[in-house]
Amino acid sequence: MPSELRMIPLLPLLSAAYLILFGRRHSRESVHRIACLAVGAAFLVSADVFFFWFPILYQSNGLTDLVGTWLASGDLQVDLALRMDALSGLMCLMVTFVGTLIHIYSTGYLAHEQDYARFFAYLNLFCGAMLLLVLGDSLPVMFVGWEGVGLCSYLLIGFWYGEAANASAGKKAFITNRVGDLGFLIGMFLLFRAVGTLDIPVLVDTARAGSPSLTAALWWGQPVAFWAALFLFMGAVGKSAQIPLYVWLPDAMAGPTPVSALIHAATMVTAGVYMVARLGALYLLAPVALAIVAGVGALTALFAAVIALGQNDFKKVLAYSTISQLGFMFVGVGTGNFAGGIFHLFTHAFFKAGLFLCAGSVMHAMAGSGDITRMGGLAQKLPFTTWVFRVCWLAICGVPIFSGFFSKDAIVAGAFATEVFGPRLHWVGPTLGAGLLVAALGTAFYMSRLYCLVFTGECRADLDTRAHLHESPFAMVGPLLVLGLGALLAGVMGLPPALSRSHGDLIGRWLATALGRQPEVSRALQWRVMATSALIALAGIGLAWRFFGGGVREPARRFTAAWPHFTAAVRGKFFIDEIYDWLVVRPLRGLSRVFFLVVDRILIDKLLVGGWTVLVDTAGRLLRLVQVGDVQRYLAIFAIGLAALVYVMARPVAPSEVKVRIEGRSATVDLTEGKAAVDKLEYGFDFDGDGREDRVGAAANANWLYPRPGHYQLRIRIKDPRWNTSRTIARTIDIP
């Protein structure tokens, strides 16, 4: 087995470590040379492995590189193992390829940055973590990468830490992701409890075999597989920014643009989709979970598309677009069409990265501003950027020939054709497909709006900015062109059988072993979907042109005037952040404060601890008062104490337990406590409460036969004949 697999994540990681430790001693050139080389080398290694072993890869479970045991305890055994199969190989290639391009791009984009080495270190670290996520052979290892990319995302969003908002955005991203990670963890626990391992291939095999350990009902009648799938999906929701955890992604745009392109468009955010596809067999066992995945995806696709309509920040629009496109992917994987989801993931990586890099290029030109209301007519000033943008724009709109067209159609068609939901939920697929078509219309509209407002018409920027407009350096434009090319051509990988006249699409065939059976889409359906979506794309573009062609036009203004509340709500992103703040953050913080002040400070510290202190202290003060200094008081206490002592001493002690045994009408009383008597005492037993002692003598036990049942008062007098002192105990007895 090829042990160079471990080199793939290791190269960027080592470079990251080196740059963190020594990066500041190096010049910019050597820094970015090291960083780019590391990722580039990782790309080459993965390409080498991928293509060299390709025949085996796509027919088998793939290649494993076992580094060692990571952690083992009891029945838990987690190996640090990497696995490359067709799916992870593809992802690996994509990550390293796009990663390399974006590294190169960054050398231009951040040419004037102070903290150059830190940036590249983080970027390398990210690539390493992402590759670990992709290649990890078991869920915990995947989780290391999963959280690792979250960390890098946090670091890179907050890269310009001087602005409090950037740091907050990073924090928000991390914490929101953590919410999802909680689900991931619980999902892992569920799987481990059911299957006894966390190795992905074993899990997948178990799921494919339909093992009863996974299909047994767990809670509310749903099988283990459902709950595990659902909790894992919670992780995916966090990482891939789906409803309800998408809120971090728009804020994440605070990071440098290459970061947005790499992490928040092409790679990290798609990890959720990748994970679901990877564990597809598990999801297939739980159609309801699949339906939830697909439903959340479709809902997110629509919702984010709507919000994107009203955004005026270049990157925010792209961010919502990403959320929406991720929704598409989830519909893909959620309808059992894993290959379709992955295909869209793949094409999306190209065109969305391209779009982001264009955004970076534009903002580079606009002195960092991303406000599209201040742009316009940039096509002339930024020719290369514009061209790449056009390609990517058309791709995302789903215009035929461009890659997005094919991948989106694969998802929509798959949704219409899917049968994974079974007879009771068969309506889900077509409904979602229809929903996606609406989302596609929205996509075409808001992307075209973006294009129109940025590149067409008059430039609305101020003079100063306008004077500085320039095309970006080659380091930035080069990667752009490559990505544009990818956006144009990547569709080839998944040409539908209707066009390619083959059995199934290329990517589907590659991934067949890794992902299992895919929904069969009839050619007729393929044609129908292609036609519809092409029309929708064109309609969206046309509508957008009517509203925004060459700047904001009359219809757009009229629309705003007619629907002021709706427009405000869309602009305000439906105030989801504020709602979360009021519903979750503030109550929780308030609760914490209450706990701290009331429970900790007052209840425990003041009452529980302070109470004892006060008690003891008061006792101390009181005892001091007794010591008045007058010797005769002392003598009195001496005498009274002695008298009290004699009084106490001379009195018999009540036995600690009075055993009364009742058998029928006979009651037996026993005061001996199982010990030999020391004192010579006399006992008088009055069983019936008539004041007369029924039994008298030295015996500490006595019995009595009651004439009739009833409620009796038992009195026992214990007497010390020496002192003629006695003590009486009373009990009540019920004689049945």
Partner: protein, 99 residues
């Protein structure tokens, strides 16, 4: 007289002495009351000794008398010392140490 009568007398003497110690304010009288308690003990010892026909009680009584004398001597010395510093022999006023 039977022995218990002596014992009763001695008990009475003892408690009278105790009451004197507790109630009188003059140090000298208090000291005398203490002596009275010791005397009560001596009386009890002697009566027991006589009743039992045993000599130990008598011997003990001598020691108690010696003890009473020694206590009186030391006590008076201390009273003088107190009087020198405080100019009083009343227990009411000897309460500088307290708390």
């Amino acid at each position: 007289m039977p022995t218990y009568a002596y014992i009763l007398v001695s008990l009475a003497l003892f408690f009278v002495g105790a009451a004197g110690v507790l109630l009188r304010r003059n140090v000298l009288i208090v000291l005398m009351s203490v002596e009275m308690q010791l005397a009560a003990g001596t009386l009890a010892l002697l009566s027991f000794s006589r009743a039992l026909g045993d000599q130990k009680g008598h011997v003990f009584a001598f020691f108690v008398m010696a003890l009473a004398a020694a206590e009186a001597a030391v006590g008076l010395a201390i009273v003088v010392s107190v009087f020198r510093t405080r100019r009083t022999a009343s227990l009411d006023e000897v309460n500088g140490l307290k708390g």
